[in-house]
Amino acid sequence: MLSVRDLDLFYGDAQALDAVALEVGEGEIVAIIGANGAGKSSLIRTIAGIHRPARGSIRFAGREIAGEPSHRVCEMGLGQVAEGRQIFPTMTVLENLEMGAALKRARQGAKAQLERAFALFPRLAERRRQAAGTLSGGEQQMLAIARCLMGRPRLVMLDEPSLGLAPVIVEDVFAVIARLRREEGLTIVLVEQNVAISLALADRGYVLENGRIVMTGAGAALLADDRVRQAYVGL
């Protein structure tokens, strides 16, 4: 469904991505793990059309999208839950969700989608009139996920959804991710520093180091790999 080849990205002279390649099949959960600064967020943002790659191909649902602006990429059904949540703090929860449904692909049926979002996250329904900036970190993460779903994506890229959350909340977030694949058939790309929990959930994983893919394999196999355990799981 998503196929990335030979992707290079530069910030000025600094190379952030170096010949990155990855494949994501329909209905899969694929984890991308790596240390801080390995290029995970750069990869997500390049696929999402926020950064322009210097070279390489990104194909989504049979179409080449490398170099397309982010609003076109979103319109094709490639959604993103960004690092740091990136909600609209002074707008209400409801307005945040409306912004998620501003895409043409999502305008029809936005009402029904809103009901589903509230069913998935009852806390958001309770706080729909509240300014999003006043929500707790976990609630903001739920809002970011719900806002992305409002755009009716076929594939969702989640960037560090566990960042800064209490362990109990992290479990909730990952339970939701698993449920989205199971119940909605969503394809999911998961970028995480929390390697243990994300590889346990993922079908397959890629290890990113200094902008390069250095290892790939089934989630469980990567989790059992000594090098991965030493470098990322802290065992």
Partner: protein, 286 residues
């Protein structure tokens, strides 16, 4: 009673100032570009209303929506074609770009309309309402009414319209707006168009009160800056409050001291606010 007359006149003129400053505030609050051509756009609006009156005998009040629509289109095209390329550039480049636009606008207006002051002849120019001893000029009431209507429309747009909310989202979180798939560049163009429409509308209304000539532009640019800084940069309520305050301050200094001293007091107010509350009266943070 005379003082009350002066106060009311100041407030009414201030409402037109407020609409002008709203345009500047909207543009800065969303795009983070300082429109150094704001006064030039104001004078362009005045000349637009003047031309509509001269050739089509349209009252400036009815010219207002036409002028606002024309300036919206011009502002949209300017942002889309030119300014969007400068949004991510260093501030000194943005400054030079906007200054160049300002100078070109003034030159074009000098060529098109000449340096002389021009005004509109209205049969109600000297009418006034007598409210229990309080004398209020009819032109001032109409101008302020138009300004209030413009500001209310703007408020409703940002509060209820889908595009208005999307523009607020861009101002709230630029990356977030990209993440949800908003077309930020298009929304920026609409925003600049709205800012230009506000100042164009204010220009049409101002023509009810003063004569127009191209050299007014710099004064209005500075006036808009004073208002927006006094009220709080990027705050719409602040632009309204600042406009009314500056209108009052001009009227009072003109009455008690001398009309030619009015800008001295506006700048005095600016310095006072910068000293005591640098984020502006209703500004959020600095």
């Amino acid at each position: 009673m005379l003082l009350a007359n002066i106060l009311v006149a100041g407030l009414l003129t201030g409402a037109v100032y407020a609409l002008m400053a709203l345009g500047l505030s909207v543009i800065f609050g969303v795009i983070r570009i300082v429109n150094f051509a704001h006064g030039e756009m104001m004078v362009l609006g005045m000349f637009g209303a003047w031309a509509l009156n001269r050739f089509l005998h349209l009252d400036p009040l009815w010219a207002m929506p036409l002028v606002a629509a024309a300036l919206f289109l011009a502002g949209y095209a300017l942002q889309r074609g030119l300014i969007n390329r400068f949004v991510a550039r260093p501030e000194h480049m943005q400054f030079l770009l906007m200054l160049a636009i300002a100078i070109m606008l003034t030159s074009a207006m000098l060529m098109g309309f000449g340096p002389d002051a021009r005004n509109v002849q209205l049969d109600y120019a000297f009418d006034s309402y007598d409210l229990g001893g309080l004398l209020v000029d009819k032109v001032r009431v109409l101008a302020a009414g138009g300004a209030v209507a413009g500001a209310a429309l703007l408020w409703a747009f940002f509060r209820f319209a889908r595009t208005g909310k999307a523009i607020r989202a861009c101002a709230d979180n630029y990356l977030g707006a990209q993440v949800v798939g908003l077309d930020v560049k298009r929304l920026y163009a609409i925003t600049f168009g709205i800012g230009a429409a506000c100042v164009g509308a204010a220009g049409s209304l101002m023509l009810l009160l003063v004569d127009v000539h191209p050299y007014l532009a710099t004064d209005y640019t500075l006036l808009a800056f004073i208002i927006v800084i006094v009220g709080g940069l990027g705050s719409l309520g602040g632009a309204l409050l600042g406009g009314l305050l500056i209108g009052l301050s001009e009227a009072l200094s003109g009455f008690f001291i001398d009309p030619s001293m009015k800008s001295m007091f506006s700048y005095g107010l600016l310095i006072l606010v910068l000293l005591v509350r640098p984020q502006g009266l209703l500004g959020r943070r600095l």
